[in-house]
């Protein structure tokens, strides 16, 4: 969208935001989710001895 606010200088309003910004975080979110899921699934049972 272009709005002529100053009379002679065109001001261009650009939208940032939306799915493109969410996608930016996709990599870190996927890494975190994977690490958390694996950590939960492979957690040793509470009664397991330390093995020391």
């Amino acid at each position: 969208m272009s709005v002529d606010l100053a009379g002679d200088l065109p001001v261009i309003l650009m939208h940032q935001g939306g799915w493109d910004e969410i996608a930016v975080f996709l990599g870190p979110v996927l890494i975190i989710a994977l690490l958390v899921v694996v950590a939960r699934r492979q957690a040793p049972p509470p009664e397991e001895e330390d093995g020391e």
Binding site: Q16, V24, P28, L35, A39
Partner: protein, 408 residues
């Protein structure tokens, strides 16, 4: 061009945000993979590490300079002009002192502990008043005193008032000098937020004290291992981290929208600060909860990795305050000289590089420190998978940190 959502946001980064974010997360992940392959036994020596060096420590001179600086500051803050444009006291306090503590402590170790004028004055007053035993309060008084400062700086709405800064420093000084006189010098280790902050940062300094008292040059990660996780230390570090998150948040359009809806009062700022600190702390608590089953039974889970948060804290601080220090620090003399602040000293590219570099380096050091601790504290056979929750936390902190400094 006017960006309708985020003034000067992504353009501050020399690379696209998605690349910076994913590269930062990948750097943390790759560091971890390299560590698990190459660092297979505990190597850090903590208080036993370091090579002795002979350096003169001008203790008396530092104490005298500390007291003179405090006296000079209070004289200017109370006696100088009351408007911030003509009084350098706020710049001295927020930039020269608060931000300056970081490079000074990183380079020279815990010198603020020697120069702290409140400690010096309390030692003098302590000869005149009866002593009491310091209660078992851990570092919680330091948490409270630092929160008071952070609230003034970030949430109060009158942080740049010269007289308010004067009142805050005076009240802070009187309270800690009296407490230090009554409870002895140990008070400052537990209760003085600025001193504890400088000591934490100084743990990453190559200069430090070994267990036998010798001044040594050491691996900064050995210094981290020397930190004692008393009650309140972990919340203290999380408070600093969370406050930096809030500081970054207030530069985003999201915060502007919040203020348009709820106003710009101190109450709104206070809620924002508390929420940011709580979110940071909850993320840490969640990672510890997932790590707990993997830890040996003798290990105190909540504090086991507190020291590994310190490089993250320092990295965030460098990222957020580097340009602030260079630009706003000039007000420490331009208010008197009448010169204009020179905003051309740093390029946008250099600022962005320091921001991303500070955050990523801080996290890589944190991962390294956490890995070494994990080799000692995790159950045998679970050394790798047991680190995943803390690794996830650090990837998350890295992504949020880079996103915040990018101004999205």
């Amino acid at each position: 061009m006017i960006l309708a959502h985020g003034l000067g946001g992504r353009s501050d980064l020399p690379v696209p945000l998605w690349l910076a974010l994913n590269a930062g997360a990948a750097a943390v992940l790759v560091s971890f993979l390299a560590l698990t392959a190459l660092w297979t036994r505990p190597r850090l020596r903590g208080a036993e590490g370091g090579r002795p060096v002979r350096l003169p420590v001008p203790r008396v001179a530092l104490k005298v300079v500390g007291v003179l600086l405090l006296a000079g500051f209070l004289a200017v803050a109370w006696g100088g002009p009351s408007d911030v444009e003509h009084n350098p006291a706020p710049a001295w306090f927020y930039v020269w002192f608060w931000v300056g503590l970081v490079p000074v402590s990183l380079l020279f170790g815990p010198v603020w502990r020697l120069a702290n004028p409140l400690r010096t004055l309390a030692a003098g007053l302590g000869r005149l008043v009866p002593h009491r035993e310091l209660p078992a309060v851990g570092h919680w008084p330091a948490v409270v005193s630092l929160f008071a400062f952070l609230w003034l700086e970030l949430a109060s709405g009158f942080s740049d008032s010269v007289r308010v800064v004067a009142v805050f420093v005076t009240v802070y000084a009187v309270a800690h000098v009296v407490a230090g006189a009554v409870f002895g010098p140990g008070w400052f280790d537990r209760g003085d937020g600025f001193e504890l902050y400088s000591v934490l940062v100084a743990a990453l300094s190559p200069l430090g004290r070994r267990a036998d008292g010798a001044l040594v040059l050491r691996n900064p990660l050995d210094g981290l291992m020397t930190l004692q996780a008393r009650s309140g230390l972990t919340p203290f570090v999380l408070l600093v981290l969370g406050s930096t998150v809030f500081d970054g948040l207030t530069r985003l359009p999201l915060w502007t929208s919040v203020q348009e809806r709820f106003g710009t009062s101190a109450a709104v700022g206070t809620v924002g600060l508390v929420v940011a600190v709580a979110a940071t702390a909850l993320a840490y608590a969640g990672a510890i909860r997932l790590t707990r089953p993997y830890l040996r039974r003798s290990v105190a889970a909540y504090d086991a990795f507190a020291h590994t948060l310190v490089p993250i804290m320092v990295g965030y601080t460098v990222a957020h305050y580097f340009s602030f220090a260079v630009f706003e620090g000039q007000r420490g003399w331009t208010t008197w000289s009448g010169a204009a602040v020179d905003y051309t000293l740093l390029s946008a590219g250099l600022i962005a590089a320091v921001q991303v570099g500070g955050i990523v380096l801080g996290h890589v050091l944190a991962v390294t420190s956490a890995h070494d601790r994990s080799l000692r504290d995790l159950r045998p056979g679970y050394e790798r998978v047991g680190q995943y929750p803390m690794l996830a936390l650090m990837v998350g902190y890295t992504a949020v940190g880079i996103a915040l400094v990018s101004g999205v």
